[in-house]
């Protein structure tokens, strides 16, 4: 089984899923962080000198074996779907499993300004909690209408209160982490905006996290790309912890390799 991983968290987060797979099934993580033109963009302002098509072509060359299951997490789902369309029909997997991945369809091909600070700060708090192994709970709506300068101190307070960050973590330090996180998102947003995907040649299975990036959209925009069917499932956890929770891994493993 191959899994396309877009960075943000270390590729080792998928160890939980690897352990949940049936005996004899191995997991190969295709980590986009290994592509300098992709990875460095998160540190240099969020503009990658590449395209979804070029990334997909590079990764498709890594697919081994005549038969394999394919999974993509987050932006990795967009790349995985593009990879399948590059393969000859006989090498395509039976289905593509998308883990809380947002479709590269019109609804989500947006300018940078559409990613507003309250949304980004909420995602950042979720990310920080997963990264540090301690959830960072924010009151629903606490960030509504706030900019980064006013909202980030609320995230800092919540993160220090929960133990995700040391009590004396300075705001400029957290700002650097936030800016780098957002540059990674902007990089993916900018790669997605001009991309014109082909409809999928295989059925799609979307596994949303209970706390998805976009809770209000059950299909995350994938319906127009799924002429061979779109199945929906939910895994425990949020966009990030769905990768490390054993209960989520069990659910995902069953969808990738049905008994």
């Amino acid at each position: 089984m191959h899994l396309v991983h877009p960075g943000a968290l270390a590729a080792q987060v998928h160890r939980t899923l690897a352990e949940a797979l049936p005996e004899g099934v191995g997991l190969t993580v295709l980590d986009l962080s290994a592509l300098p033109e992709y990875w460095e963009a998160a540190l240099t302002g969020g503009r990658a000198e590449t395209t979804v098509e070029a990334i997909a072509e590079r990764l498709a060359a890594e697919l081994m074996g005549p038969q394999f299951a394919l999974v993509g997490w987050s932006f990795g789902g967009v790349v995985a779907q593009a990879m399948i369309e590059l393969l000859p029909a006989e090498r395509r997997p039976e289905r593509l499993v998308l883990l809380d991945s947002i479709a590269p369809t019109e609804e989500y091909q947006q300018p940078d300004e559409a990613l507003e600070p309250p949304l980004l700060l909420n995602w950042f708090a979720m990310y920080l909690g997963a990264k540090r192994g301690r959830p960072v709970p924010l009151d629903p709506g606490a960030l509504a209408g706030l900019g980064v300068d006013d909202g980030l101190p609320l995230v800092l307070d919540a993160a220090t209160a929960s133990g995700a960050l040391l009590p004396d973590t300075p705001l400029p330090g957290l700002r650097k982490l936030y800016d780098t996180y957002v540059d990674g998102l902007l990089r993916n947003n900018r790669l997605t905006a001009p991309y014109r995907p082909k409809p999928s040649s295989v059925p799609l299975v979307l596994v949303k996290a209970e706390r998805s990036l976009i809770p209000e959209d059950p299909t995350l925009g994938w319906q127009p790309l799924a002429p061979h069917g779109l199945s929906l499932a939910v895994a425990p956890g949020d966009h990030y912890t769905m990768l490390t929770r054993p209960d989520a891994a069990q659910a995902i493993a069953r969808l990738v390799h049905p008994a």
């Binding site: 460095e40 960050l165 400029p172 330090g173 957290l174 700002r175 650097k176 982490l177």
Partner: protein
């Protein structure tokens, strides 16, 4: 903007890293490579942001690549600070 010397930069880095690691400053060697320290990427970015706030200027993304120890980085910071002060 005040000019920062290599000694000041090294002292600042040692103190902050020791604090983050929960050890005494004397236990952090200026010769050790950053990737040998028990700092994860989150801690490293937070430290970088704090340092840039203290210095008043940003460091390039490849700085740690070319200056991979506290001692090397402190010398680079002093040079950069000197250039900016005299600009």
């Amino acid at each position: 903007m005040a000019q920062v010397t290599a000694v000041e930069a090294q002292q600042w880095l040692v103190e902050k890293i020791a604090h983050r690691l929960g050890v005494a400053p004397g236990e952090v060697s200026p010769e050790v490579f950053f990737d040998e320290l028990d700092l994860d990427s989150t801690e490293a970015l937070i430290l970088a942001g704090e340092m840039e706030s203290w210095l008043g200027f940003e460091l390039g993304t490849t700085t740690l690549w070319y200056h991979p120890t506290i001692k090397d980085l402190a010398a680079h910071i002093a040079e950069e600070s000197s250039q900016r002060a005299s600009a």
